[in-house]
Each structure stands twice: as structure tokens, then as C-alpha cells.
């Protein structure tokens, strides 16, 4: 029996996190659930504990990248075979977890990304967001030589190779796009499956209007630099020295 960990990074998600946790348990009763509380100002941590999840409380706000990586480090340390990342804000439907998890369980890919745009779904994101997503997916598709439609999706399932890789390095802010390119450079296989995205139950999107400008500059720059980054990204995830750091 392989062990599965569901990672839910959360920042001020007290309104939605309990609900998401419950749904996850209904879908995957055998999986462990861990909420990475990114120094929330509300009662996210308490609510998550009461809902029966494990909680990692970060002492300072690290942003989504740092929080997500904390989850992957936990997964690596505890030797989980598979990890799922699900947003705690209710955007991702836990009922669709099997769609993501099964291809990874069957070894079809190292990481599976839930895509909003792969099929005609009811999801309509704001126009600017759609354009941005489209530009990024074109760029990333060109880099990795494979069609990828939703580079910004945070709904993902990963195997142990990816867990160990992400535990060591994960991009800092707005990490989703970069994280895909990094995996490609490390020779890991990914695939997309179509998912629905729901309107948010609570909290704010991590991308607000002013931050969007920063996003549009930072992410392409990070990808561009990442392409020329020597050694650091490229070395194989099976390297035994990567597991535990001294």
C-alpha cells in the first residue's frame, strides 16, 4: 500500500479549509492531509487541526512557494510515495483528485497537472488572467517541447522523484510556471488532465491587480534565467545526496 500525502498550503483560509479537508477525506480516506499554514492572521491552523489534519505552522510568511516546499519537505522526510497539492481556498474540487493521482500511480508521468483549459469547462477566469495564462503556456510549451495548457494550475499530483526534487528546490513566489520548467530540465515527465475549477469559497487570489504586473515580469525572467542556470537545476533527482541535507 503506497502512502499518499495531500498538501494544502493555506494563508488566511479559515472559511474554506475545513470544507476542503472534509471533501479530501471523503475522496481519499487512506491519504494523510497536511495543511501548511503560512503564518495566517486568522484561525486557519485551529480550524485545520479540528478538521483532523496535520498542520505545519510556519513562523514567518514565506509565500506560496516556500509554503508548498515545506509540504514537499515533510513528504520527503516521512517517505511518502505520492503527494498531491490542492489549494485550501476551495478552487480545486477534491472529487477530481483520482483523475490526477491515477496516472501517477500507474507510472504514466512523474507529475500530473490539472488543467482548466484542456477541455471546455465552465470555468471563466478574468480576461487578463486568461491572456497571461495563454502567453505563458505558449512560452513554456515552446521550451519543454510539449503542449501544456495551464501552467499556473496549483492542482497537481507528484511521485517520489518529484517530491524529492521539490523538497530541495522550489521557486519562491508565483512558483507554478517555473516549477514546470525546472522539472522538465531535470528530465522528469509531466502530463495534464482536464479539471473543473470552482469559484473561490473564501480568501483572496494570490494574484491581485498590482501584483499582476510583477507577476508578468518576474515569471518570464525566472524562466529565462532558469534556462541558462548551470548545474543547479539539471542534476538528476535520483542522486542519493539530495535526500537529506546535513
Amino acid at each position: 500500500m503506497s502512502r499518499v500525502l495531500v498538501i494544502l498550503p493555506a494563508f488566511n483560509e479559515e472559511a474554506s479549509v475545513a470544507n476542503v479537508l472534509q471533501e479530501v477525506r471523503a475522496v481519499l480516506p487512506e491519504a494523510d492531509r497536511i495543511v501548511v499554514n503560512d503564518c495566517s492572521l486568522d484561525r486557519t491552523s485551529d480550524v485545520a487541526r479540528r478538521a483532523g489534519a496535520m498542520v505545519l505552522d510556519l513562523p514567518v510568511n514565506l509565500g506560496i512557494g516556500g509554503a508548498m516546499q515545506t509540504g514537499y519537505r515533510f513528504a520527503a522526510e516521512k517517505g511518502y510515495d505520492f503527494a498531491l497539492q490542492v489549494d485550501a481556498d476551495g478552487q480545486h474540487d477534491p472529487k477530481e483528485i483520482p483523475l490526477l493521482l491515477n496516472p501517477v500511480l500507474e507510472g504514466k508521468a512523474d507529475i500530473v497537472i490539472g488543467s482548466r483549459y484542456l477541455s471546455e469547462t465552465g470555468y471563466r477566469s478574468p480576461v487578463m488572467r486568461r491572456i497571461g495564462s495563454w502567453v505563458f503556456s505558449l512560452a513554456v510549451s515552446a521550451i519543454v517541447g510539449k503542449r501544456i495548457t495551464d501552467t499556473t494550475s496549483g492542482f497537481r499530483a507528484a511521485n517520489q522523484r518529484v517530491i524529492r526534487f521539490y523538497a530541495e528546490r522550489y521557486p519562491q513566489d508565483y512558483p507554478e510556471v517555473e516549477a514546470v520548467v525546472m522539472l522538465h530540465r531535470a528530465g522528469l515527465k509531466f502530463m495534464e488532465v482536464p479539471v473543473q475549477m470552482q469559484p473561490r469559497v473564501g480568501g483572496d487570489s494570490s494574484i491581485s491587480s498590482l501584483k499582476a504586473v510583477y507577476y508578468m515580469i518576474k515569471v518570464p525572467l525566472a524562466i529565462f534565467i532558469g534556462l541558462f542556470r548551470a548545474g543547479k537545476v539539471g542534476h538528476p533527482p535520483d542522486d542519493p545526496s539530495m535526500g537529506e541535507q546535513p
Binding site: 501548511v36 496535520m54 498542520v55 505545519l56 505552522d57 510556519l58 513562523p59 514567518v60 514565506l62 516556500g66 516546499q69 515545506t70 519537505r73 515533510f74 522526510e77 519562491q172
Partner: protein, 129 residues
């Protein structure tokens, strides 16, 4: 004595030279003071000290500055002094940007480690009670 000053200064712009010498001495003094009080670590002070020493030497030995500025095509030698000072300032800033990035990465690691350890501790406490 007069001829010595003339050789050192190249016989030009004594006031500018004086300001430059005092300026570099002040810079060196402040850095050494900070290092002495342990408010600046030696390894971080190295670039600063190098900058101060080079500026001091160039403002003391005017013929050297003259040669350098002619070599760079600068007609007004004190401008070369500014340029060199500016170059070193940029270098120091870059050095600190690298240090800040490194610190941020370490800081992130530590925060993550604390979160993991805190949970571990909670688990142990629960088992004990």
C-alpha cells in the same frame, strides 16, 4: 618639501586632492572603526577596505591618477577618481545583493525546519501525555 608636494600632486588642483584624501581617509576610518567594534564582519569589510585604499592611493599619488585618466580618455583626472569610486560602489552593492539572496534562502530553510520541528515536538508531547 614643496617639490615633494608638487611631484605627488602633479602640480594641479590641490584643493580637489585634499578633499579626495580626506574623503578616503574618512571612509577608511569609518570602516576600520566598524570592524573594530565588531559591527561589520571582516569578510564583508574587505571590499570596502579595498575601495578606501585604492581611492586613498590614487588621491595621494596624483601622477598615477593622471596616467590612469589619460589611459581612459578622461580629461579631468578627479573625474576618474569618481568613476573608480562609483565602480567599486556598484561592486559592493552587487556583493550585498548576493549576500541578501543567500540570507533569504537560509532564512526560508530555517523557517521550514522550524515548522517541521514544531510539529515533531507536538507529536512527542501528545505521545507522552
Amino acid at each position: 618639501m614643496n617639490s615633494l608636494i608638487k611631484i605627488l600632486s602633479g602640480g594641479l588642483g590641490f584643493k580637489v586632492q585634499l578633499v579626495a584624501i580626506l574623503g578616503s581617509l574618512l571612509l577608511l576610518g569609518i570602516i576600520l572603526g566598524l570592524v573594530r567594534n565588531r559591527r561589520l564582519r571582516e569578510e564583508h569589510a574587505l571590499l570596502w577596505l579595498l575601495t578606501g585604499i585604492i581611492l586613498l592611493v590614487l588621491s595621494l599619488v596624483r601622477p598615477l591618477l593622471d596616467i590612469l585618466s589619460r589611459w581612459m580618455g578622461i580629461y579631468y583626472p578627479p573625474a576618474a577618481l569618481f568613476l573608480i569610486g562609483f565602480g567599486f560602489t556598484l561592486l559592493i552593492l552587487m556583493h550585498f545583493s548576493v549576500l541578501v539572496s543567500d540570507l533569504a534562502e537560509r532564512n526560508k530553510r530555517l523557517a521550514q525546519e522550524i515548522a517541521l520541528l514544531k510539529r515533531e515536538l507536538e507529536e512527542i508531547k501528545k505521545k507522552l501525555s
